[in-house]
Assembly symmetry: C2
Homo-oligomer: 408 residues x 2
Amino acid sequence: MGNFKFIENGSTTSVPGFRAAGVTAGFKRSGAPDFALLVSDTPANFAGVFTSCTFAAAPVRLCRERVKNGGTLSAVAVNSGNANACTGKAGLDNARLTCAMAAARLGITPDEVAVGSTGRIGVQMPMDTIEKGLDLAVAALSADGGNNAAQAIMTTDTVPKAVAVELELDGKKVTIGAMTKGAGMIDPHLVGLHATMLCFITTDVKADNATLQAMLEVNADDSFNRITVDGDMSTNDTVLMLANGKSQVEIVPGSENEKLFKAALLEVMQTLARKMVTDGEGATKVVTVEVVNAKSVKDAKLAAEAVANSLLCKTAWFGNDPNWGRVVAALGYSGADFDPELCDIYYDGVPVVTDGGDAGTPESDLADIVKKDSFTIRCDFKEGGSDYWVWSSDISYEYVKINADYHT
Amino acid sequence: MGNFKFIENGSTTSVPGFRAAGVTAGFKRSGAPDFALLVSDTPANFAGVFTSCTFAAAPVRLCRERVKNGGTLSAVAVNSGNANACTGKAGLDNARLTCAMAAARLGITPDEVAVGSTGRIGVQMPMDTIEKGLDLAVAALSADGGNNAAQAIMTTDTVPKAVAVELELDGKKVTIGAMTKGAGMIDPHLVGLHATMLCFITTDVKADNATLQAMLEVNADDSFNRITVDGDMSTNDTVLMLANGKSQVEIVPGSENEKLFKAALLEVMQTLARKMVTDGEGATKVVTVEVVNAKSVKDAKLAAEAVANSLLCKTAWFGNDPNWGRVVAALGYSGADFDPELCDIYYDGVPVVTDGGDAGTPESDLADIVKKDSFTIRCDFKEGGSDYWVWSSDISYEYVKINADYHT
């Protein structure tokens, strides 16, 4: 679907009117880039979705306030290596100070700046490092800095994640760019957004904040909320979208333009979501869990998420073990309403379970499927018309190693 | 509490009137014992609680029927190595046939026999192996066979788990014995019972089935439902209690005897629950997660279980990392209603978080606590009067190895 195409090496700065930078400020002991600045040359309308975690980090609380107050954004400052979470009033003050410091350097007002943070929880933000990051980043701002910015927001990610697409609307070119980070603490379980992830999206369409917000929320439910690495959710999850209007293409709710733009935006968000699962901490494969023909979407979702989050399923996948008993057990405890005697299960289309019992496919055939880098587990409840799917990853020794050893 | 004392090497056969055996029938490729038979010399009243998994295994469905129909039990036949789950009508027929075969050999009726199974899901029960197991076990039945039986029901358990206590009621000696298996697929999340576990309890009190059932359910909520290893729940969870009345001590609801007996029974069940967590697959430590002063038990439970099941917390514990940020994140996404700015957290009584922020205790002090074989994380919401606790374990490389490689 859609008339969009991907831009090679695309990023947030593939969109006209946006500049970005990624620099080493010193939050990370490793010396890797850890501070990113994204700037819109003109005030941009914007939208945001955030973690539903009760312990929302200071930058999330600040961004929520920005979304609530409306208006425009011109810059986003993001650091990796310190989450500015559980830092109380001082943390929120520091987030505000970051905005003020960025605004002073960019000649804008503090409320035109948003912030994002990821890293260790419970440590106050070193503001001299923020200052250093801002100085370096403002000097480095560039119309092709998007990939540097994507690199600077990484934590346990092994590869930077950026993408851009262009499409034609009203005979004019429209561009969407985005970057994301996130490889662990990722779970789709909660309303709003559910991953240790930061995502920043740029575009040059004209749309008011409410229109942007509606598209972002619906698409987040069909992308970032469909992925799970470990079932944990972060204090810092943030997705922000900025639209500078430079293309002069207007997006009005209910229009054909909206439909096409939203589809392209979904492709961008799903591509990044898929990249996050593929890069899941220690992950060796991506498993799509589909539940079809359930009585309700709620039942389909409960069932798909139970399988996708089952530690026993995830370790079996790592072990190339087709062990469908664990899939069945997870469906069974999911809380979904379904008749086990009707349930069929397929691995990449090959029957595994028929009417709740062994379909008789030789285990070696199934093992060949489970060995692959990606495969699909389809559970057919044969009872209704509701479907749901989730992307999951396996859990390996490496996951345990990363998370047993992780100190920023 | 209680006037009970533990019996050295106690087991189900520490109770007068019970015999047991554990033999190698051939369900397991390893040649380890895999079939247990527990027999009451006289018909015993009984009670049972079971998995709430939709895909309940054939033996669970059969046992539920026994509990519903009431009457008495005289024998329980248990195999490890095959779960008889997802085996459809044939599986249920095989469970019934097992009862009939046991009854014929013991001179009782089939409905006086209960069955339990644990192992691989989705494989029909090899009935010739059941027959061999029954022949060997009937021949081996002995008044000190309880520990052999405990050994024969193990799967990934590294140690057999049996215990017995005795207490004096009305000036007479009363005994409670029990055995359990379970080291993975263990989770406290669901109503009824929530662990890949089998537990068989014997006693010589006189009590009707309803009285036994009430005590068993309440105590299961305070023991087996308080433990989590991996958040997965099994198709086969079963707790059965048999009371043969031989002590002539009657347990009447509301009596002092009931109070004392129930407390002793809880001690037995908690001791076995603790043994299961300690023997959790790959576990190197036991962590008690307490949430106190919550607005409701529901809030306290949601919060405690989120921390206890957090993969990021569990890997941090394995890595001796005091990372309280992960505890805070789990509390935050738990769905519990609490004010993060009021929350205090203690590790073994040492302040870690005060009013939602760093308490300032040096990380090295906290690391010394997290290194221990067992420690307690106490989260004080300072808002209400409701508490909840859970026993959890860490997740190690070994957990992944066991579950990536597990084939019965």
